[in-house]
């Protein structure tokens, strides 16, 4: 026997209820004037307490009611071999289909006990929904079938790690992938000189010398071709740097350095601001607000993941001294060796705000600018354009059979053995009521007899 909801056994504490009632509730003795009291023995004084023993049957029945109810709530399930075989003989299947036509192409050879199809353009998004449906399915072997072209990147190991181990995983390739696919890539900030438009050296590579480059990506088998077309544009550098006038030339160089790294151009409504505390008074720091926009949170996470920036930050001797910047709503981006944050991030009205304690001439500043711009823009998602399938070897490694049923959840079992216990509870309740009424009638009759006698 297994208990599908063993935590319910804590309900046995309720047994204290009827016991306490039987102990605490004392039967009040009737007062009766009597003439021949001297013939009553004092030794019988204690006998008035014996009613507790008289009610042992009632107490036992009440305790049994509580125990049976608790046992029923605990979900007893007598798992016989036949029962287990019956569960294991059936299969519950969730089918995640990528693309509208995938479901029609998938024709399974067997007929599952229960099946549900989840059509989705992105497999990773549908897997949690399919798992949730399987969790609520009746006891059976459970299987998740992923049907689609199964292009590289459409399913990752992280997506599959969230699937419980007893759920089987199967991949069915349906629909072919094109041999070549060309999509618009991201936009990149670059210097004109890279395109031969200005070749007067690094020192002249300031704002006016920047352009926006549009990428066109072509995927053909294992080859990827990126074609860029540059366009002269007003300075679109998306990060405003707040610094002292003295530090401005150095900051401009840092911006040019960041731009030379071909950073991703963000959308027009995503902007950032970098405050360099080393060159201005702390009072100039704008009050940061808690992060509410999801893209700001993604941007902060992206900056923290920048490896070059973290290495550079760890080599800067001292962090920010203002304690306000070590507390919410500011989020630390970099930690100095002294344990204090070197750079913190927050949000202002629809923009990302970063406060840095590093000097303008520090390597941290251009790296921070690069990280911020990349975080605001981000690379294009090329997974939709992938023309290569996930290798069969990888699919085989990810595939696994549905595990046999071990302990089904109580609320998913179509029929467990709690019904018998509930019937027992009802029978005991009826018996308790009958005994209680009989006792009450007996007491009433006795009382009437005593009253009549008295």
């Amino acid at each position: 026997m297994i208990w599908l909801n063993p935590a319910a056994w804590i309900g046995l504490l309720a047994l204290a209820g009827p016991i306490a009632i039987h102990i605490l509730v004392q039967r009040k003795a009737e007062r009766l004037p009597f003439p021949s009291l001297r013939f009553l023995q004092q030794g019988r004084l204690a006998s008035i307490r014996r009613h507790v023993l008289e009610d042992v049957l009632l107490l036992a029945i009440r305790a049994a009611i509580v125990a049976a109810a608790v046992a029923a709530l605990a979900g007893p399930l007598i798992v016989t071999r036949t029962q287990r075989e019956a569960w294991n003989a059936r299969l519950v299947r969730a089918i995640v289909v990528q693309g509208a036509d995938g479901a029609q192409r998938f024709q399974p050879s067997d007929r599952p006990f229960l099946s549900q199809t989840f059509e989705t353009p992105a497999v990773a998004d549908a897997i949690p929904r399919a798992v949730a449906w399987l969790e609520n399915a009746p006891p059976a072997r459970r299987e998740l079938v992923i049907v689609g072209p199964l292009a590289l990147g459409s399913v990752s190991a992280d997506d599959l790690a969230a699937i419980p181990p007893d759920i089987g995983i199967r991949f069915e390739q349906s629909g072919g992938l094109p041999t070549e696919r060309s999509i618009a890539g991201g936009r990149v900030l670059a210097l004109k000189r890279e395109f031969g438009l200005e070749r007067d050296g690094f020192n002249r590579a300031k704002g006016s010398g920047s352009i926006v480059v549009q990428q066109q990506v072509t995927l053909r088998n294992t080859h990827t071709t990126v074609q860029e077309t540059g366009a002269d544009a007003p300075d679109p550098f998306p990060v405003e740097v707040v610094c002292s006038t003295d530090a401005r030339p150095i900051v401009d160089v840092a911006i040019a350095a960041a731009r030379s790294q071909r950073v991703w151009a963000p959308a027009a409504n995503r902007r950032g601001r970098l405050v360099l505390l080393d060159s201005i008074a702390p009072a100039a720091v704008a009050d940061g607000a808690p992060v509410r926009e999801s893209w700001v949170a993604d941007a902060i996470a992206s900056i923290v993941r920048d490896r070059d920036l973290q290495v550079a930050g760890s080599q800067t001797p001292a962090g920010l001294s203002d304690p306000r910047l070590s507390a919410p709503p500011w989020q630390p981006l970099l930690l100095a060796p002294d344990g204090r944050p070197l750079a913190v991030a927050g949000a202002s009205s629809a923009s990302l705000v970063v406060v840095s304690g590093a000097a303008a001439s520090s390597l941290v500043t251009p790296l921070l600018l690069r990280a911020m711009v990349n975080a605001l823009g981000g690379p294009p998602d090329l997974r939709q354009a992938e023309v290569l399938p996930i290798p069969d070897s990888q699919l085989r490694a990810w595939s696994r059979p549905a595990a046999p049923v071990i302990a089904p959840r109580v609320d998913r079992v179509e029929r467990d053995d709690r019904r018998g216990l509930w019937i027992l509870v009802l029978v005991l309740l009826a018996l308790e009521t009958w005994i209680r009424r009989a006792r009450a009638e007996e007491k009433t009759a006795t009382y009437e007899e005593d009253v009549r006698v008295a």
Binding site: A29, P33, P35, I48
Partner: protein, 294 residues
């Protein structure tokens, strides 16, 4: 059937009698049905002085026929006597609070009915009857006037508090000027030894002692079953017991007490009657009177 009341006194339940407020009427109901079955006076000790002859009428007792006169005159004459009182009876009634049990028909009310009936019988025989109950004392005198005074006194007495049984018996015995009849109605719970000593003393004074031990059925059989807090009617002391469990010991104890009273009475030559209040008073009285005739 009683001619006056229309109630058969022989079977009239005591509860019905207890509801009749007029004690004289109750006494008549009890006694009239009772005496009709008794052909001889139950109380001895009176004498009769010859008064006159009268013609015999059917139904007259043949022992009063003057046979010598029949022989002389060939006519039947019966002798008539003028009764003279030579017996005085005093009713001693227990007025302690224990007699007020049970509430529906108390032992005291029952004893009161019994006393009234006895007083009626004694008075109707022309003998003197008196009463000692609590602080009230009616000297033993003959006549209806005295009977009515006695019954009125009985009606006005309530059972309450304690009762000095020995002192009351002593007083009653000493107030009887000549050898008389002492009728004691009590449960004899109070001062058992002292009371019997006084009764023995009364007997030594020449009085005939008759004891009516008046008990209720509840006291004798203890028919309770549940938990009770019994409160003593006289002392106020209370005892909590489970009646079902205490019943055996109680009934054994009270049976021993009743048997002891009966034996002590028998040993001293007292006439003893155990009267249980759920029996019609006439029954108990009839048994008592029949026993006296034997």
């Amino acid at each position: 059937m009683s001619r006056d009341s229309g109630i058969d006194s022989a079977v009239c339940p005591p509860e019905v009698l207890a509801r009749i407020a007029d004690l004289e009427l109750v006494a008549r109901i009890v006694v009239e049905g009772l005496v009709s079955g008794l052909h001889r006076s139950p109380f001895h000790g009176y004498s009769a002085e010859f008064s006159q002859y009268r013609h015999y009428r059917p139904g007259d007792d043949l022992k009063y026929v003057d046979w010598k006169l029949v022989a002389r005159t060939d006519r039947l004459y019966t002798k008539q006597f003028r009764e003279t009182t030579n017996m005085a009876a005093t009713l001693v009634l227990d007025t302690s609070a224990s007699m007020s049990f049970p509430t529906a028909l108390s032992k005291y009310r029952y004893a009161m009915i019994l006393s009234a009936a006895l007083a009626h019988i004694v008075s109707s025989q022309g003998d003197a009857v008196g009463l000692v109950a609590g602080s009230r004392m009616i000297p033993a005198r003959a006549g209806r006037h005295n009977l009515r005074a006695l019954l009125a006194a009985l009606s006005g007495i309530e059972a309450s508090g304690r009762w000095d049984a020995a002192e009351t018996v002593r007083r009653a015995a000493e107030r009887l000027n000549r050898r008389g009849l002492l009728l004691v109605l009590s449960d004899f719970y109070d001062e058992e030894d002292a009371t019997f000593n006084e009764l023995k003393r009364a007997a030594r004074m020449g009085h005939e002692v008759v004891l009516f031990q008046t008990m209720s059925r509840e006291e004798v059989e203890f028919p309770y079953r549940r938990d009770f807090e019994f409160e003593d009617l006289e002392t106020g002391r209370s005892v909590s017991v489970n009646a079902a469990l205490a019943r055996r010991e109680y009934t054994d104890a009270i049976a021993a007490f009743l048997e002891r009273c009966r034996r002590r009475a028998g040993a001293e030559g007292f006439q003893y009657s155990l009267i249980v209040t759920d029996t019609p008073p006439a029954h108990g009285l009839r048994n008592f009177l029949l026993a006296r005739q034997r």
